[in-house]
Amino acid sequence: MSEILFIGLSLSSILLLIALGLSITYGAMGVINMAHGELVMIGAYTAVLSGIYLNLNLFFALPLAFVVSALVGLGLEKLVIRRLYGRIIDTLLATWGVAIILQQLIRLEFGLSFFGIHIEGLGPGLQNMDVPAFLTQPFEIAGIPIQPYRSFIIVVTLLLTLLTWFLMYRTSIGTQVRAIMRNPQIAAACGIDVRRVSAFTFAYGSGLAGIAGVLLAGFKTVMPDMGASTVVDGFLVVVVGGVGSLLGTVLASALLGQINGVFAILTNDILARAVVFGVVIAIILWRPRGLFAFKSR
């Protein structure tokens, strides 16, 4: 029983890791960022490259990936998303294009492969990130086997969630973000620099995606389209939880992760994912605003 719960918890933490960044960019800014998965992918590649060229291990790659993804996110906001606020479907389509561009840039090694230059760690092939040895040895506490890497992911996810909560609910910039979330015009009228705060928020959400990428790289192969499949899951979590509700996102990822874990054991992985999609559809039909959306007019 505890094992099933652990599997579910582990799946939940990965969902939450990806959804956390999205809940900020989508929830706070009304941007459907289909390139979020590619920001995850960039985080993973940052870990791979910093391992090859800088000899940095996982722990140093985490902050580095945060910075790299945040910078890419900032550029994305300034170049594309800034022009599309309020046109939610268009943000979806434009960022889909951005996602293709980012994937191809990695695959073509930023175009260098046309000139016959090859950078180790980039290109269309599969990459690997080394995980420190002490995180791969399973150990037991009171007779229960513990997977150290999975536990590490859960702990990091919890810390990031707490940090995000603190930023959003206990700092002045968080108050500004939440004000923009409710009503950007009134927020601007109150003297909040909506553009600057939005850019900051988007960069922060992108940075979280970068961290998610490093952690994913520990147990998944790193490749240019690794992020594409994660973004939809992340969205479903955010929508089910309720747009703009951090608590909702946490609970929704716990719920969907556990459903996935339980059904994976009862049937198989494929059907378990199908059940998750079914539950998501039912919840959206029943409560389109999500389970924990704040009341707004």
């Binding site: 459907i32 594309v80 022009r83 599309l84 939610i88 479907i89 268009d90 979806l92 389509l93 434009a94 889909w96 294009g97 951005v98 996602a99 293709i100 561009i101 994937q103 191809q104 840039l105 695959r107 073509l108 046309f114 269309p124 594409a228 939809v232 969205f235 479903l236 929508v239 198989n268 494929i270 059907l271 994912r273 199908a274 999609f277 079914g278 998501v280 559809i281 959206i284 039909l285 389109p288």
Partner: protein
Amino acid sequence: MTRTKLFKYGDWGIYILFIVIVLGLPLVMTDVFWLNRIAKYLVYGMLGIAIALSWGYAGILNLGQGLFFGLGAYMVAMSLKLQSYTSLQQGSDTPVPDFMLWNAEPGAPTELCCITSGSWLWLPFQAQWFGMVMAIVLPVILALVLSSAIFRLRVSGVYVAIITLALVLLVRLLIIDAQPITNGFNGLTDLGWLTIGGFEFDPYLVSTYYIVAVSICVVLLATRWLVSTRAGLILQSTRDDPNRSRYLGYDVAAYQVFFFTVSAGIAGFAGMLYVIAAEFASPSFLDITFSISMVVWAAVGGRSSLIGAAIGAILINTIEATASETEMFREAWKLIIGVIFVAVVLYMPRGLAGLARDAVGLFAQTRDSGKTRTARSGAPAE
């Protein structure tokens, strides 16, 4: 000629030009390989029409159009699979698909009724017409049920997109999981040819091209007529302001359900034609990438123009096929398409159709101002 007349004639001119080119192509293009390729892209063009109808005219973004396309494809592929030569060679008097033998329980009889669990579902598909009818009926029924639920509950905007997205992924997983009756990931390959009245439609025949070509022309004209009817106009009003339409007494959900279903039916029909031309059906038809690609084609061509969306789909795919001849350029082309897409959304939200319309408008304007100028300069002489 007044401005509105110019737009009207220009519009009809494009339609006639399109139909003439599509129907006349085999006279110029004798390479059957390319003709077969173009037939597939015409099918994509039909998907563009389906997207423009639901997205442009109804304001409903369906990110799961691949679901209806895929179901249509699978239905007709099941029938054609049973007509395949290999299906008759499995040691039974009646056709049995080869993959079922690989998935059969030891000792199961080699009969369609009971070789694998659920294989009896294939029984009616022994008749080719059944598969062809189901290719449209199944998507229509599913769309009817789905859209009734969505629009009666007044789910709107981005949530419709998310529901359709989740549903296409759900069905894709079910198809993959039902390996014994769908051949899972591999899909249905090695199909027989469509046979009507003893005539076999080899995909590389000009007659097969004409099935697709005539179909897209008919669908194009039919949808064009549909949106200009009273119902089509009411639909556009529900897109612009659903609440106002509701207050005016229209049953908004009914119009949305009707057009969503028509769009799904077109997608199912397109799926059927695709299988006839491409000779396979696979779960990749239900990938999100494919469904979003359709929206991309429609957006590039012009989301609120039926013919624009069709041309966008055909154009992008034809260029892509030409570009993918070399390995290097294939990857670069994907990069270019990403850039085009971002640029279209940012700078050309009405797509190619919008561009054409602006050009006609500009032409009318310069001509009109030219006229007034000559009139003015001519005045003192009189």
